[in-house]
C-alpha cells in the first residue's frame, strides 16, 4: 500500500512537471514522424550489388533489367561485371555487398523447364546485403516457378503431363520476358534490417518508442536519488513502511509511466503516422517486456550513480548506445562482425525483431522468444541492481 501511495505521489509530480510527457510521448512521436518523412522507405540505406551475366539470354536480361530498375528507384546501387571473377573481386574488395552470377545456359535451362538458380557471392561482413541478394535471387527463381505453374494450370485441361514439358518452359521464359510479368517480380520491401517486414512508419515508431522508453522510465526509479537529494528520503525511511516498499513505489511509477507512454505511442503512431504494429496482444506482450528491460537498466544506473543528474546523464547515454546498437537508427547488423553480434544482445534489436514477426502476420505466440529475451534482460539487470540499491536507502 505504501508503494502505491508513493507511486501516486510521484505520478502527480510527473504530470505536473510534464517532463515525462515530453520525453515519453512528444519527443518519440515527433521523431518518428520526422524520420518516416525524411527517410521514407527504409530500404534507402545503401545496398550495393554487382551482376555478371554469363548467359546473355532473354531470361537473364530480364533479371538484369529488374536490378537496373531497382537501381533507378535508388533502392540499390548496381555494377555490371564482365565475368564471375571480376564480380567476386568487387565483393572481396568491399565495393559491393554481394554479386549475382547468372550462369551460362540459364535461359536455355528455364526454357527446358529445369530448376534454375542465380548464383550469389556474398561478403561475410555484409550479412544483410548478402541476405538481400539471396532473397532477390530466390524471389526471381520463385517468379519463374510461379509463371511456370500458372502456365501449367492453364494447360492442364488439355495436357495431363504439363510439368517438365519443354514447351511449357519456353512459355514461361517468353512470359517472363513480357513486361506484364516482369513489372516487379523482385521487390525490396521494408527494412532489410531486423525489422524485415516493418513499414518505415512502423519501424521508426517502434524504434523511437523503445529508445525513449529507456528515458521515460527514469522519471520513476530516479526518484530514489531525487528523494535523497531533497532530503525527503529521510522522511520515507522514518515512516512506518519497509525500505522495500519505497523501491517498489519507484518501480511502480516507472512501470506506469513506461506503459502509459508506450500505449499512447502505439495508438498515436497508428492514428497519426499510419504505423501498423500488428497483433495487439503481441504488441502488448512486447511493450510489457520492453518496459521491464528499460526498468532493469534504470535500476542499475540508480544503484551506481551519486546524484540524480549523473544518473540521468548516464541513463541517456546508455539509452542511445543501446538504441544505436540495437538498430533503432539504422540497420546496424549491416555493419556485420562484432557489432552485429553485440546488436543481438540489446533488448532494442529483439524488440524490433519481435515487432517484425508481428508485422509479418505472426500472432502473440510469434513474439514470445523475443519478448522473453527482452524481459529477461530487464529481470537480470534489475535483479542484480537490487544488490546495491540499499545504498540509496540509508540516512
Amino acid at each position: 500500500m505504501a508503494a502505491v501511495q508513493i507511486a501516486l505521489k510521484d505520478l502527480k509530480q510527473r504530470v505536473r512537471d510534464r517532463s515525462a510527457f515530453l520525453w515519453g510521448i512528444v519527443a518519440p512521436l515527433g521523431l518518428a514522424a520526422i524520420f518516416s518523412m525524411l527517410f521514407g522507405p527504409i530500404a534507402d540505406f545503401d545496398v550495393s550489388f554487382a551482376v555478371a551475366d554469363l548467359d546473355g539470354g532473354t531470361v537473364a536480361s530480364a533479371f538484369v533489367d529488374q536490378l537496373e530498375d531497382l537501381e533507378a528507384d535508388g533502392t540499390i546501387t548496381l555494377e555490371v561485371a564482365d565475368d564471375a571473377a571480376s564480380a567476386e573481386d568487387l565483393v572481396e574488395d568491399g565495393s559491393v555487398d554481394a554479386a549475382f552470377v547468372i550462369p551460362v545456359g540459364f535461359t536455355d535451362a528455364v526454357s527446358a523447364g529445369a530448376t534454375v538458380e542465380v548464383g550469389v557471392i556474398g561478403n561475410v561482413d555484409q550479412a544483410i546485403g548478402t541476405q538481400v541478394a539471396r532473397s532477390v535471387a530466390a524471389g526471381f527463381a520463385g517468379e519463374i516457378n510461379t509463371v511456370g505453374a500458372a502456365a501449367c494450370t492453364v494447360l492442364t485441361a488439355r495436357d495431363e503431363s504439363c510439368l517438365g514439358s519443354p514447351s511449357l518452359g519456353s512459355l514461361a521464359a517468353t512470359a517472363l520476358a513480357e513486361p506484364a510479368f516482369t513489372e516487379s517480380p523482385v521487390t525490396l520491401a521494408g527494412s532489410p534490417a531486423a525489422s524485415k517486414e516493418l513499414s518505415s512508419e512502423t519501424f521508426y515508431s517502434a524504434a523511437m518508442a523503445i529508445l525513449f522508453l529507456f528515458l521515460t522510465v527514469q522519471f520513476g526509479v530516479l526518484g530514489l536519488l531525487e528523494e535523497r537529494q531533497n532530503g525527503t528520503m529521510l522522511r520515507l525511511l522514518a515512516a512506518p513502511i519497509s525500505a522495500r516498499s519505497i523501491v517498489a513505489g519507484k518501480a511502480l511509477t516507472s512501470f506506469v509511466l513506461g506503459l502509459v507512454s508506450m500505449t499512447v505511442l502505439v495508438v498515436g503512431t497508428t492514428l497519426l503516422l499510419g504505423a501498423e504494429w500488428g497483433n495487439s496482444l503481441g504488441v502488448a506482450v512486447m511493450v510489457l517486456a520492453g518496459v521491464i528491460a528499460a526498468m532493469g537498466i534504470m535500476f542499475v544506473v540508480a544503484a551506481f550513480a551519486r546524484t540524480p543528474e549523473q544518473a540521468s546523464n548516464l541513463q541517456s547515454i546508455i539509452a542511445f548506445v543501446l538504441a544505436m546498437l540495437g538498430g533503432s537508427f539504422f540497420p546496424i547488423a549491416q555493419v556485420g562482425g562484432l557489432v552485429a553480434q553485440l546488436s543481438l544482445l540489446t533488448p532494442h534489436a529483439w524488440f524490433l525483431r519481435g515487432l517484425g514477426d508481428l508485422a509479418a502476420g505472426g500472432g502473440v505466440g510469434a513474439v514470445f522468444p523475443a519478448a522473453l529475451y527482452v524481459a529477461l534482460f530487464g529481470i537480470v539487470t534489475g535483479g542484480l541492481a537490487q544488490l546495491r540499491i540499499g545504498r540509496v536507502l540509508q540516512a
Partner: protein, 315 residues
C-alpha cells in the same frame, strides 16, 4: 517517574563513522508531555543521536525503546509512534503544503476523512492555512521550516523529534515555531528537541542534556544544571520601608544564600529564584517593606556549557 510513563528510553548509544567516534554512549529518557533538549554545538553528535533514535541510522551499540517498542532501522510499525523533523528542510517543492501533509499522512496509514481534518488542523498550527494550496517552492524559508515541522507532527505521534528546527529562520517564524512546540508539549506529546541555541533550550525544555563530542556532559532541569556549576541567581528588589528588617527576614528563607541592602532596595543571591521568590516577597512584605520591581539575573546554560567543556556554545 514510573516506567510506563516513559515514551523514549535510549541507552548506551554508540556510533562511529570510520575513525570518528561520533556518539559515545549517549543515554537519556523522555516522559509523556516532557520536552527534552539536546544542547550542543555543531558536530556534537545531535543529528547522529536523533537518527539512531528514529531508526534511520544503524547504531553500533545501545538500545532505543519508543512507546514500549524497540526501534531499529528495520522497524516499521514501531515507527508510527515517532514524528520526525529532519534538520534540513525535507518537503516536495512541486507539491502544495496540503499535498505534502496529506502524502505523509497516508504513509502513516491515516485514512482519508480523519486525514483531511487533521491536515487543516496542522495547517492552522503552523500558520499556513491561507497558503495551503500553494506549492511549497513559493514559500519563504520560514514557511518551509514550518511546513517541515507540520509534516512531523501530522499523524499525532507520541514522540516528536525536531532536529534544529529553527536554523536559518527569521525571528518572527522562529517565535511561531517555538510557540507551536510549546503547545504540543502541553497537549501531552513528548518532544526531543536539538539545538545549539541556548535560549531555545531554556525556553522550551523541561530537561536538557548538554552534549559535546558525542557525550552527554550533564543533564537536568535548567536550575539543576545551573546549580551544578555553582552559580546562583542574583535577585534585585527595588523597595522602600524597613529594608534592614526585610534583609534579616529573607536570610532565614531556604535557598537564600546572601542578602544585603542597597540605597533603594535589596540584593540577594538565591538558589532557584523561581521557587524562592514567593517566600521572599512574602517575608519582605511582612517586614513592612513595599517592593516596586523585581529583577532576576540568572546564570544561563551558556555559562554551564562553558564551565563543562571550556568552550563557547557557538563559535
Amino acid at each position: 517517574m514510573s516506567d510506563n510513563n516513559l515514551v523514549l528510553e535510549a541507552s548506551g548509544l554508540h556510533k562511529s563513522f570510520k575513525d570518528l567516534h561520533a556518539v559515545k554512549g549517549v543515554s537519556f529518557h523522555i516522559a509523556t508531555g516532557e520536552t527534552y533538549g539536546l544542547l550542543g554545538p555543531n558536530g556534537a553528535g545531535k543529528t547522529t543521536t536523533i537518527s539512531m533514535v528514529t531508526g534511520l541510522l544503524e547504531r553500533d551499540g545501545g538500545e532505543v525503546v519508543v512507546d514500549g517498542r524497540e526501534i531499529s532501522t528495520t522497524s516499521t510499525e514501531a515507527k508510527r509512534a515517532i514524528g520526525y523533523v529532519p534538520q534540513d528542510i525535507a518537503i516536495y517543492p512541486d507539491l502544495t503544503a496540503r499535498e505534502n501533509l496529506s502524502f505523509f499522512g497516508r504513509l502513516y496509514g491515516m485514512s482519508a476523512k480523519p486525514l483531511r481534518g487533521r491536515v487543516d488542523e496542522v495547517l492552522d498550527i503552523i500558520g499556513l492555512s491561507d497558503r495551503a494550496d500553494d506549492r511549497s517552492e513559493e514559500f519563504s524559508g520560514g514557511m518551509k521550516r514550518r511546513l517541515n515541522i507540520g509534516i512531523g507532527l501530522l499523524h499525532g505521534p507520541r514522540l516528536l523529534m525536531l532536529d534544529e528546527p529553527t536554523v536559518g529562520v527569521d525571528p518572527q517564524s522562529r517565535n511561531a515555531i517555538l510557540e507551536s512546540v510549546e503547545r504540543l508539549s502541553v497537549e501531552g506529546m513528548a518532544v526531543l528537541y536539538t539545538t545549539h541555541y541556548m535560549e531555545e533550550a531554556e525556553r522550551l525544555c523541561d530537561r536538557v542534556g548538554i552534549i559535546d563530542e558525542g557525550e552527554i556532559k550533564a543533564e537536568g532541569t535548567r536550575a539543576e544544571l545551573v546549580s551544578m556549576v555553582g552559580q546562583r541567581d542574583k535577585v534585585r528588589l527595588s523597595a522602600t520601608g524597613h529594608l534592614d528588617a526585610a534583609v534579616e527576614a529573607v536570610r532565614a528563607i531556604p535557598g537564600v544564600h546572601d542578602a544585603s541592602t542597597r540605597e533603594d532596595g535589596i540584593d540577594l543571591l538565591v538558589d532557584g529564584a523561581d521557587r524562592a521568590l514567593p517566600s521572599i516577597l512574602q517575608a519582605v512584605a511582612a517586614a513592612e517593606t513595599s517592593v516596586s520591581s523585581v529583577a532576576v539575573d540568572e546564570p544561563n546554560l551558556e555559562a554551564v556549557f562553558l564551565h563543562l567543556t571550556g568552550k563557547a556554545l557557538r563559535d
